[in-house]
């Protein structure tokens, strides 16, 4: 009968066209290929001698079409390249989480995860069950974290020492970034800024303003607050002992908000009358505002000519259209309320500052608030020759600020320059020797992956990594647990003396999320794709 034949030869389609699945070996192959590709991509940016990448955004439409980006920040690179491989996406996600949680170490976490997966390739070739590898890794991770915790030092009780720790951490973080030439200068700048926050991790109080021109070393930390706005016309450009009212209220035409209300008049005269009434309403409002006895008025929304003129007459400085973030920050900095109704002047707290003046940076005028009530806020003004440099500098400063503020919260530190990694690797290796069973192979592989991090740092700097790493390992095995790589001179050295420190929280998070992600990828034995959704081309831009 023909029926048998058709069943035998006709494949029965299980998935919708476009969808499909990759099984076992093939799935694993594509998973590893994706992970390794992502790892190799960012690998070269690791360490003080790491290289940068140029990213060019999509040609075509969109707001930043064809824009250039020069960076060595792992999270930025990965978020911009738009990967398609599912496993690569997992790695991109962990680098993003690392960025959100700690702010730095985004490259390390991806490299460690991809090195772990590279090791697995060999283990799987030896026919070791993925679940066995995972069991081994878990033991290795907890051992690594245990030993990391045992050397972590907490100097927060000694303020002098803590400050120098923070300086060292900032220097270490900056040494792999574009600002490394001026790292001492910028470290001091960032440490000063973070210490002003008094232990808060909210970085909103620190504002970064970028202005093209001049040299990077002309960047400075501005005590107080800068607002990227101009003072209205005919108003004082400089004001001492300012009493500031921060508001969020319409100052254009104060509409009647009741739904469905509209103006309907039959003669032009009536229109004029209404206009007058409106004007009067505005005048009332301005008078109410003036009753607060303020000499500066900052509004989130627009201020039209008429009220502005009224303010100018009274000698009140009015600043319009400060964006939402600006207003919130101002309120925080100046210690005032954000006000929307003006009937209770006695209840409203006014913001205060000693001096408001208009200053000029490059070609732009900005408003500077100095001597503010709460000394927590400050502004970092970055100068640089090109937009790319400025952008990268901002990212670097942001990384440093994040790391520092997290360190203030969790003040334990550990050693950089590959010392922490080597320390963990040595401890994990020892665990491997002690463990019986197949898991020990997996544990050893974890140690190898950890050792890859210093190896890559050395490779990137162009030194003989095999030599350096074996020296370093020997040093660690003989108990010199603070030794790491000195990439200035191409030798191993004591990290305490060089002052290369890193935040404990950062290192811990790197090991933890890399292990978690690698484990997750390793557990996958099937990749199932749904058909790609067909999209209509978005025609709105044309």
């Amino acid at each position: 009968m023909r029926g048998d034949l058709t069943t035998a030869l006709n494949p029965i389609p299980l998935y919708k066209p476009g969808g499909g699945e990759e099984k076992a070996e093939i799935a694993r192959l594509s998973a590893f290929a994706g992970a390794l590709a992502v790892g190799d991509l960012v690998k070269t940016t690791l360490g003080p001698k790491g290289m940068d990448k140029i990213l060019q955004c999509h040609m075509g439409d969109g707001p930043d079409a064809g824009r250039l980006l020069v960076t060595n920040d792992g999270a930025t690179i990965l978020s911009k390249i738009g990967v398609d491989n599912p496993v690569a996406k997992v790695l991109v996600d962990i680098s993003k989480v690392q960025d959100d949680e700690v702010g730095d170490g985004t490259t390390s976490v991806v490299v460690l995860a991809s090195e772990l997966l590279r090791e697995t390739e060999n283990l799987l070739a030896q026919k070791i069950h993925p679940q066995t590898i995972i069991t081994g890794w878990r033991k290795a991770t907890s051992e690594a974290l245990r030993v990391l915790e045992s050397i972590a030092k907490n100097n927060s009780s000694n303020l002098e020492q803590f400050r120098s720790d923070l300086m060292n951490i900032a220097r270490t973080t900056l040494s792999s970034k574009i600002l490394q030439g001026k790292k001492d200068y910028f470290s001091k700048l960032c440490v000063d800024a973070v210490l002003k926050l008094n232990g808060k991790t909210d970085l909103q109080g620190i504002q970064i303003i970028k202005r093209l021109g001049n040299n990077m070393s002309d960047s400075y930390l501005e005590e107080g607050f800068l607002l990227e706005k101009r003072i209205g016309i005919n108003m004082p450009k400089r004001l001492e002992n300012a009493r500031i009212l921060i508001a969020n209220t319409p100052m254009d035409t104060d509409k009647v908000k009741i739904f469905g209300a509209r103006v309907r008049v039959d003669t032009v005269a009536k229109v004029a009358e209404l206009e007058l009434a409106e004007k009067e309403k505005m005048k009332d409002k301005v008078n109410k505002i003036l009753q607060h006895n303020c000499n500066v008025f900052i509004n989130r929304q627009l201020i039209y000519d008429y009220p502005e003129q009224l303010f100018a007459e009274k000698g009140v400085m009015a600043i319009e259209h400060a964006d939402f973030e600006g207003v919130e920050r101002l309120a925080q900095v100046l210690g005032g309320d954000i006000v929307s109704t003006f009937d209770t002047p006695d209840k409203v707290r006014l913001g205060k500052c000693d001096l408001i003046e208009e200053i000029i940076i490059g070609e732009d005028k900005l408003i500077k608030f100095s001597g503010v009530a709460q000394g927590q806020a400050c502004t970092i003004v970055l100068r640089g020759a090109t937009q790319q440099i400025l952008d990268e500098a901002e990212r670097s400063i942001h990384d440093v600020l994040c790391v520092l503020s997290q360190t203030v919260k969790e003040p334990r530190i550990c050693y950089g320059g590959g010392a922490a990694e080597m320390l963990m690797a040595t401890a994990v290796s020892q665990l491997a020797v002690k463990t019986a069973g197949k898991e020990s192979v997996a544990i050893e592989s974890f140690a190898r992956a950890l050792r890859q991090l210093p190896t890559i740092i050395a490779d990137n700097a162009g030194y003989d990594s095999a030599e350096l790493i074996s020296n370093l390992r020997a040093a660690h095995t003989s108990g010199k647990s603070t030794f790491g790589l000195d990439m200035e001179n191409g030798r191993i050295a004591d990290m305490i003396q060089l002052g290369i420190l890193e935040s404990f929280h950062l290192k811990q998070q790197v090991v933890r999320s890399a292990a978690e992600a690698a484990e997750m990828v390793l557990r996958v034995d099937n990749i199932i794709r749904a058909p790609v959704r067909q999209r209509e081309r978005d025609m709105r831009h044309h």
């Binding site: 069943t7 299980l14 962990i94 959100d100 679940q131 209300a261 009536k270 009434a277 109704t341 999320s513």
Partner: protein, 541 residues
């Protein structure tokens, strides 16, 4: 062509077309249809097979938009597979109904159904009529279910000793990626259920348990909040971040000028009108705030937005407020705090306020994201499981795993009879069913025997996933079960040295297992009864 359909010919030899557009339609019937069904069913089951058990693997699903989900939850995998085949779709629904009913064992049920189909194929080749096979399966399922009831044990359910429950939850979590902190997660699940369980009615209201995830931190940071966590923040940056002894007004009316629902036009024709409206507007806002103040509330939770002016008025009257809280969340808050949802300002009274002992804002990492945590509520039986994890996929998977664990614990609260997992009860049933088969005088005994073999597919898959030689391990365990007459022996997946599942505390609920067997049998019966598929074919352009 047989696959198009039977053709009738008239006396001139021209085909008589019976169906509209018959040429373009596809059709499969008879044995060919059966075979094709079985093939499709097997393909789906094979995909899931490797996910079974504590050493099962995960699947990586790529959604139509390119998002990644990594999971080993059978129901989730199937629902995201976008299966097109009709029989495949039936299996997807099978797993879904197991998920809806029991919440766990969604992989097992599909594997079992696949095995039943596979064994039916062999019987079809022998020339046994599909209906006879289906009847045999039905008989066998009855035997198996009766046997399950016999070997089931009643489990001690004691509110003071939660350990047994935690063990059950741990069995469920054992196969998931979060088995790193298995014990902690199991405790969270059990505590959550115990918190909301109604022991008199022996029921658990799932709506009172919310599972909320947030990327960051680590799995170990997952915690059970006896209260509600909402992804919202106070409406004004200067409101206090922490409120103690909060009396909460829960509103579903916006802080905006009133909007009459009937269509209307309000014309401003002269200056007086304009001024009047201005006054009215201002009055309204003051009235709203006054209504709240008068009721004695010191916190406002609102489903809608606030006008800037209202927002500031709230601040200046020291009324911290939260806006844009979604419908389900507002209900949860109302239940938790014992407050009433108030749709109009006028109806706000002191009795309708909710109460919470402690409300605070949580911040995370370097991003300025906040969540609101409402604790020490008046009726504290609502709770939220707050999941943390290193990346998005882990958090999502942890949420699914916790859901499974919650379901299992709930099932135990409903019915505290259990059977032993690790394939133990399947093997025991298989032995019993095979024994029973010999007593049947008709050809159904072949089908019953096939059913016994199919039951063994679960322990086989478990052994295979754990890296053992499947047939040898299974036959060893089976021999031991018969020799010792001990239905608690199963596959020792984790290589702990004992295959007594009681010692390993690998426990599954009786209703879960019962459901698996009866659902799988039902579905296979249904598939075996289909002998004709008609596809609409390509639509003509």
């Amino acid at each position: 062509m047989p696959s198009v359909g039977t053709l009738a010919f008239d006396e001139f030899g021209r085909p008589v077309l019976i169906l509209k557009g018959q040429e373009s339609k596809k059709r499969l019937f008879g044995i060919e249809a059966h075979k094709s069904h079985i093939l499709a069913g097997k393909a789906v089951a094979d995909t899931l097979k490797t996910s079974l058990g504590p050493r099962g693997m995960d699947k990586c699903m790529v959604s139509p938009d390119g998002d990644i989900t990594i999971t080993n939850d059978g129901a989730t995998i199937l629902s995201m597979m976008h299966v097109e085949n009709e029989i495949g779709k039936l299996l997807v629904q099978l797993s879904k109904s197991q998920d809806d009913e029991i919440g766990d064992g969604t992989t097992g049920v599909v594997v079992l159904a696949g095995a039943l189909l596979e064994h039916a194929e062999a019987l079809l080749d022998k020339g046994i009529h599909p209906i006879r096979i289906a009847d045999g399966y039905e008989l066998a399922a009855k035997v198996a279910l009766e046997h399950l009831d016999k070997i089931a044990e009643t489990y001690p359910l004691d509110l003071k000793k939660l350990d047994p429950l935690i063990n059950t939850a741990m069995t469920t979590l054992g196969s998931k990626i979060i088995n790193r902190c298995q014990r902690q997660m199991a405790e969270i699940a059990v505590n959550a259920i115990m918190n909301v369980a109604d022991m008199e009615r022996r029921d658990v209201n799932f709506e009172l348990i919310k599972v909320q995830g947030k990327v960051g931190g680590r799995l170990e940071d997952t915690l059970l909040v006896k209260g509600v966590v909402v992804d919202k923040t106070f409406s004004h940056p200067q409101m206090p971040k922490e409120v103690r002894d909060a009396k909460i007004a829960i509103l579903t009316c916006p802080f905006e000028p009133p909007k009459p629902k009937t269509k209307h036009k309000l014309d401003i024709t002269n200056v007086e009108d304009y001024k009047k409206l201005r006054e009215y507007e201002k009055e309204k806002f003051t009235e709203m705030i006054k209504a709240i103040k008068d009721s004695g509330a010191n916190l406002v939770i609102c489903q809608w937005g606030f006008d800037d002016e209202a927002n500031h008025l709230l601040l200046s009257h020291e009324l911290p407020a939260v806006r844009w809280v979604g419908g389900p969340e507002i209900e949860l808050i109302a239940i938790a705090t014992g407050g009433r949802i108030v749709p109009r300002f006028q109806e706000l009274t002191a009795e309708k306020l909710g109460f919470a002992g402690h409300i605070r804002e949580l911040d995370f990492g370097t991003t300025s994201e906040h969540m609101l945590c409402i604790e020490q509520c008046k009726k504290s039986n609502t709770c939220t499981i707050f999941v943390r994890g290193g990346n998005k996929m882990v958090v999502e998977e942890a949420k699914r795993a916790l859901h499974d664990a919650l379901c299992v614990v709930r099932n135990l609260v409903r019915d505290n009879r259990i059977v032993y997992g690790g394939g133990a009860c399947e093997i025991s049933c298989a032995i019993e069913v095979a024994k029973e088969a010999n007593k049947i005088p008709t050809i159904e005994q072949y089908a019953i025997r096939a059913f016994a073999d199919a039951l063994e597919s679960v322990p086989l898959a478990l052994a295979e996933n754990s890296g053992y030689s499947p047939i040898k391990t299974l036959s060893d365990v089976k021999a031991q079960q018969i020799a010792q007459n001990n239905p608690r022996l199963g596959i020792d997946c984790l290589n702990t040295g004992t295959n007594d599942m009681k010692a390993q505390t690998v426990i599954e609920t009786l209703i879960g297992k019962r459901q698996q067997i009866s659902l799988a049998t039902q579905l296979v019966r249904m598939i075996l009864k289909i002998d004709d598929i008609r596809l609409p074919g390509e639509a003509e352009e």
